[in-house]
Structures are given as structure tokens and as C-alpha cells.
């Protein structure tokens, strides 16, 4: 790449912060963001010009977040419960065009811990279930099941809100 890196920080800084917050919570998101952009700055001159920069950055961010999550798993720390169901930073971090996205986050927060972590890591963080299993413990299949159960539970708790939303004004 021969574009100024400053443009990259401006264009994609907020997106990378959202990904880091979704995976790690607000507290460790800043460290992951810094690690991500420093690594990206280092690699920038040798990056092929046809690379999708945002996708590349998100991949780097996921990898950095995964390192941190694995470290936590080794030290048997919870995946930041303060930033999960109750933490406002995570709510703010999600793209929220209206109140119903906050409802989604509350619904996510109401899931059992393992399901919530599997859904967030796989569907928001984009981690494959093998990586999700590394973080939440157990087998790949168990992680996949927790993710599927979580999404099924979200469908149930969220179905009525979706119906209300449709009658409420969508064309």
C-alpha cells in the first residue's frame, strides 16, 4: 500500500473499536485497538494494494482479541461480565440506529453466559467455532451448540419485538 496510513486510522478506527469492544468489553478494547493499529502500521507498506483494508484490519483485531481471550482463559478469568449484560460501553459500541438494537443487546445479555459468549464471539466477532471453543472451553461441537442455542433463544425472546416493529412503521 502506498496510501498514507493516517487515512486508514480515520476511516476504520471506529469500526475496529466496535469489534474490539464486542469481543473484549470496553476495558481491554483500547489495548486491542492499539495492538491492532500498531501491527497494521508495521505491515502497511508490504500490504498488497488490492486488499480489502477494513476486512484485513478486522481480521487483525480479531486475532489480537483472541490472544487476549486465550490469555484470560488460561488465567480462568471470566469474559468481562461487567461489560456484558450490564455494561453500557458495549451497547454504545454496537451500531444502534434505534432503540430496538438496544433491545437486542439486552436480549443478548439475558442469555446464559456460555451461550452469550458463543454468540458474541462467533456472530459479532466473526471467530470460527474452533476459536470460540478455545476461549469459552469445551469442544468445538459444544461451542457450536451453545451458539445455536443462543440464537434460537434470541429468536424466541426477540420475535414479539420484531412483529411489533413491523406493525410500527416498516413499509
Amino acid at each position: 500500500m502506498d496510501r498514507p496510513f493516517e487515512q486508514v486510522v480515520r476511516a476504520h478506527g471506529a469500526t475496529v473499536l466496535r469489534v474490539c469492544r464486542a469481543l473484549l468489553g470496553a476495558h481491554d478494547a483500547d489495548d486491542a485497538w492499539s495492538d491492532t493499529f500498531l501491527a497494521a502500521l508495521r505491515a502497511w507498506p508490504s500490504l498488497p494494494p488490492d486488499v480489502n483494508v477494513e476486512a484485513w484490519l478486522v481480521t487483525v483485531a480479531r486475532r489480537k482479541a483472541l490472544d487476549e481471550l486465550r490469555r484470560r482463559a488460561r488465567h480462568a478469568l471470566p469474559v468481562d461480565p461487567a461489560d456484558g449484560a450490564l455494561g453500557r460501553p458495549l451497547v454504545a459500541a454496537l451500531t444502534a440506529p434505534g432503540d430496538r438494537d438496544l433491545d437486542l443487546w439486552d436480549a443478548l445479555g439475558a442469555l446464559p453466559d456460555k451461550q452469550r459468549r458463543a454468540v458474541v464471539l462467533h456472530h459479532i466477532g466473526g471467530l470460527p467455532y474452533a476459536d470460540v471453543a478455545d476461549v469459552v472451553g469445551g469442544s468445538d461441537a459444544a461451542a457450536r451448540r451453545a451458539g445455536a442455542d443462543g440464537v434460537a433463544a434470541l429468536r424466541r425472546t426477540y420475535a414479539r419485538a420484531a412483529v411489533d416493529g413491523k406493525t410500527g412503521g416498516r413499509p
Binding site: R3, L17, S34, F37, L38
Partner: protein, 205 residues
Amino acid sequence: MTTTTATTDDDVLRGLHARLLADAQREGLLDVAYRVVPSPVGDLLIAAGESGVLRVAFAVQDHDAALAELAARVSPRVLEGGRRLDPVLRELDEYFAGTRREFDVPVDLRLLTGFRREVVEALPRVPYGATASYAAVAALTGRPAAVRAVGTACARNPVPLLLPCHRVVRSDGSAGRYAGGEAAKAALLRLEGAAALSPRGGRQA
């Protein structure tokens, strides 16, 4: 609520950007640091590498184009801000205040090669408050016939102000063209003339 949250995130991102600058400097990855600052001759883009000031660009020269050239020809590891620019910005402030006649900060002329580089390196020999014709500068560089080439070199000077191409004028005494525009050139010559006549110090030439 939404506005408050957005402002907070902007603050967070500003803090993260500052941290990235510091990390990059520490890791030797801040190949080009730049800032855009207001001045009496319009907004100036100032860019510096590890070894000196690489670029001073006037707004009329298109700052985005200047950054693109730096990224392509020096390094794309370009970030805005950083303490590295403090010395040159301080010297520019002093220059515009009329209290500085020569710049001490190192410049890095890697954007120029050959004769053009020789020409801009010779520019500080035209002292503050004085002017020289293109022909005189050509003679200074030992190639008295290269008058047009001197004009081109001045136009391509990557660090105007620091290397004073504004002091090179036409043989008939008129100011001639300038990368920052003719009005900027006239303003700079006026500034230097006024400062040279002030009680702070006599004319050097």
C-alpha cells in the same frame, strides 16, 4: 444520549490515536509525521521524518497531494501529529513573528535529486531581507546558464520557507511566481524587509 455517546467515542478515538503516535515513534514506525497549522500565508502542511523536515506545503499546493507524494516516495507509514514537529513549528512561529532569520532544524531533501537539489541547498546563501535573481542563483550553483532550471528547482522546493525560494525574484525586480502564490511571496518579502529594518537587527546582506 446518542450525541453524548458519539462524542465520548470520538474522545476515545482521539486518545487512541495519540497512543498510536507514541507507540509508533517508540517502535521506529513513524516514518512521516505531519501537521497542518495556520500561518499568515495560509494553512501550512509540515511533514518530517526521523532525520529532518521533508515537506512544507501551502494550501494552494493541495495538502492531500503532498501527503500522497510523501506516502509514495518516502513511506506510507504517515501519521498526523507527534512531538517531532514541535521544533520546526516553533521556529516558523518565530519567523512569522519577525524574531527569526534563519532556520536551524534539519531538512531532509530526499524528494529532490541532482541539480534541483543543489539549487535548493544553495538558497540559504541568499540572506534574510535580501533577494537574488534566478540568474544570480544559477551563478551561485556554478551553472550560470541554467536560469530556467533554477526556476523549476525553486518551484519544486519541498521545504519552502525553510529554504527560502521566495527570495529568488525576476531580473527586472518583480517577485515572479511562487509555489504558495504570488501574494504569499510578496507577503514574505514584506515581512523580511520590515523585520530587517526593525530595531532588532540591521540588514545582513
